[in-house]
Amino acid sequence: MKLITQKSYYLLIVYFFTLVLVGISFYYVTNYVIREEFNKILYHRKYLLIKQLSKSDSIIKYQNFSDQMIFIQESNVSLPPFEQINDTLIFDQSEQKNLQYRQIHFTQEIRGHYYDMYARRLLIESESLAGPLLILIIFLFLVLLVTLFFFNRWVSHRVWKPFYVTLSKLKKYQLKQNDTISLPKTNIDEFDQLNEVLGIMMNRIKHDFYLLKEFTENTSHELQTPLAVIKSKIELLMQADNLTNIQYKYLSASLASVHKLSKLNDSLGLLVKIENNQFHNFQSIDVYQLIESKLFNYEDLLQIKFIEVIKEKVDTLEIMMNPILADILIENLINNAIKHNITDGKIIINIRSNELSISNTGNELMIDDTSLLFQRFSKSNSQSFGLGLSIVKEICNQNNIDISYQYIKDKHWHTMTLRFGIVD
């Protein structure tokens, strides 16, 4: 949910309760004001009545008006002074229901006569006040809703624009590509702060990233000499005459581990170099020729495993690439197709004008998620480090090659497809 929508939800809840509160108070205040007004009128009427009656009592004749506005009763006995103002319900014949009146009830002695008097005035019904009020509140709420909607749109266009600019820049940003990101100055303090902090953070991350890469590169170099010492000492030790079987076993295991370590080092070093874009010098490369030469190198391995290679050259495929990287790419792919193949297996190499696919027979992979295949250290067996395919992936990334993997289950075919010149 967008921040602004979220904010609007809360605002609407607040508006709702405020409007209800305003409505209720308005209702009561209106009622109070009306009664106050009526009281004034009724007091004025009382004053007029007393004034009239002190002149003459002719007004008594008119006492029974149909709307029962004034009611005067002359008393024979003396009445104590009394005055009361209140609401009262009186049944109305024409409307067939009780109507609410404001009335003043008082006694007065005028020229020796005692009068008991009522003056009444029809009140506005409460329901007829509440109805329009409710409609008004609903209307106001709707108006707020619509205003809020348009206001939000306007705000997200104007005020939040720098935020979305920053966001889209961050989305595109790639640490590896060594590009600096420039976040423009906005006229909103919070966004300026955000951009500033982001800028500082990114510089720090970049700095750390390069330190780490430098470290990886240096380590992989520096480790090779000590490894060479270990390897040479093992080799010298191997020459001893009186070694037991178990000692040979230990030496063999040590040698294998040194071998593994140095391979790992090499691969990591290469990976870092590819990531650092250290391979320039682009040349036109005929993929078919390159594959031919690689297959020639692997001829005896193919023979020992009885693997049949079928080459389908539909079209000539020429790519612009660094020759060393192209070599590593094809080498790794073919190596993989042989390594993970079965005895009496097959390799099909299909070359089209902008597509290369290498398929091989082989056992099903142990991993479920095939995207993990290209990740570092995702390995199919303990013999390899699983760096081969991540090197392939990295080379593809750097050279705008789209690589994908498919597996046809019932036929046990693994296929790597490379599409060249895909511009994103």
Binding site: H221, E222, Q224, T225, P226, L227, A228, V229, I230, K231, S232, K233, E235, L236, M238, Q239, N245, Y248, K249, L251, S252, L255, A256, V258, H259, K260, S262, K263, D266, G269, L270, K273, D300, L301, I304, K305, I324, D327, E331, N335, K339, N381, Q383, S384
Partner: protein, 225 residues
């Protein structure tokens, strides 16, 4: 045969000279560029083994100087840098071979021998071992002076064995030698066994003794007696 090894890691230096000395090579050493230049100006060597990362500069500079001062000698670079560009650069400035650390001593020995053969007259290019004879200039193998036909891999394997005769050579070293660095799966052992089996068979058919001895798990030894 005199070899000068220029390497700043003393233990590696020891290992190299230890291994090569047994091959009747006379090994001298220098720990830095200064010392190496000093030796270079006073003596002649048949072979130089040069490390690139030296404390007082790059071994590449030294390679250029050696090429100028003693162009007849054979130069092998040993370096931690394994990339193709580094190799190309090293070979371009005059080195004859490039070996990446960590290397097998048997591999270094094979390279030194092969390099030294290169500058010798044809007659001396022949490697002989009892009834076996390898004419390295024409890639020919003779058993009791009768030529036998070997594949490229079998030939390489036999030459590697004879160069490192009486030494235990690890299987991994042989695999690296034959197939380069790319094969690192369990299967590469299978490839190796197949090659050894074929080589043994061909040699024994030709009436050659079986000199290849299995050394428990670790590798093989080409035994002279």
């Amino acid at each position: 045969m005199k070899i000068l090894v220029i390497e700043d890691e003393e233990e590696l230096l020891n290992s190299i000279s230890n291994y090569l000395q047994e091959e009747q090579f006379h090994c001298e050493y220098a720990l830095d560029l200064k010392n190496a230049r000093f030796r270079l100006n006073r003596e002649t060597f048949d072979c130089f083994i040069v490390d690139i990362g030296l404390p007082d500069g790059s071994g590449l500079e030294l390679v250029k100087e050696i090429k100028k001062e003693q162009p007849e000698s054979f130069i092998i670079i040993i370096s931690a840098k394994s990339s193709t560009e580094n190799k190309v650069e090293g070979l371009n400035i005059g080195a004859d071979d490039y070996l990446t650390k960590p290397f097998d001593l048997s591999e270094l020995n094979a390279r030194v021998n092969s390099g030294l053969r290169r500058y010798k007259p044809v007659k001396k290019k022949h490697v002989e071992f009892n009834e076996l004879k390898i004419k390295t200039d024409i890639y020919q193998v003779l058993v009791h002076d009768i030529e036998i036909s070997l594949t490229k891999k079998e030939y390489d394997l036999l030459l590697y064995f004879i160069t490192n005769k009486n030494r235990v050579i690890s299987k991994l070293a042989i695999i690296e030698h034959l197939w380069g660095g790319y094969q690192d799966s369990n299967e590469s052992y299978g490839f190796l066994y197949a090659q050894i089996k074929n080589l043994r068979k061909k040699l024994s058919i030709a009436g050659c003794n079986d000199y290849i001895e299995n050394i428990n798990r670790i590798g093989y030894k080409f035994r002279a007696n």
